[in-house]
Amino acid sequence: DAMVIQNPRYQVTQFGKPVTLSCSQTLNHNVMYWYQQKSSQAPKLLFHYYDKDFNNEADTPDNFQSRRPNTSFCFLDIRSPGLGDAAMYLCATSRAKDGEQYFGPGTRLTVT
């Protein structure tokens, strides 16, 4: 089945230690998104790629970076995680920018 895959599902990192979250898709979608979701809140968009075109949200901290080496993969890098970055990180894809988005299962990040 075509899908959005996120690895790992659970990630524990230390305060200030860089961490990378991975997302891959078999849908061949043009657009890939990264969201941060904290407990009992709606997902918050961090950035997205339309093909190789990167779009950062204005309020996304500089601590968060992203890479998309090819159509299938997209990475979220957190350079120096703080306790406030503990959250669920969701990857999503869509064929077109205004189409429905398909979400991965998420990566639960814990910062100790």
Partner: protein
Amino acid sequence: AQSVTQPDIHITVSEGASLELRCNYSYGATPYLFWYVQSPGQGLQLLLKYFSGDTLVQGIKGFEAEFKRSQSSFNLRKPSVHWSDAAEYFCAVVHKGRGSTLGRLYFGRGTQLTVWP
């Protein structure tokens, strides 16, 4: 500006009872609307969507939603709730048109559904 309002933070229903989750949106043109469901510790699953055409849309798991332009609403319904429907439900509208915000999903704050046996 686009926005989505889900007025109910938490709803509790008995298994087998009917369900309606409310969603109101603010958008300048005909919106693209979605309902997503999220089980604990999981990603979001698309239940249904409205782009155009028939205002009553059918989704997965027996859910349906009705787009009412006059009320700026897109309420989600299910005639008989199952215990497995307990989850968080998000209504969302996507920004169409041009500009850097094209494609951005605007979510409501979510409605947590509890189902009593």
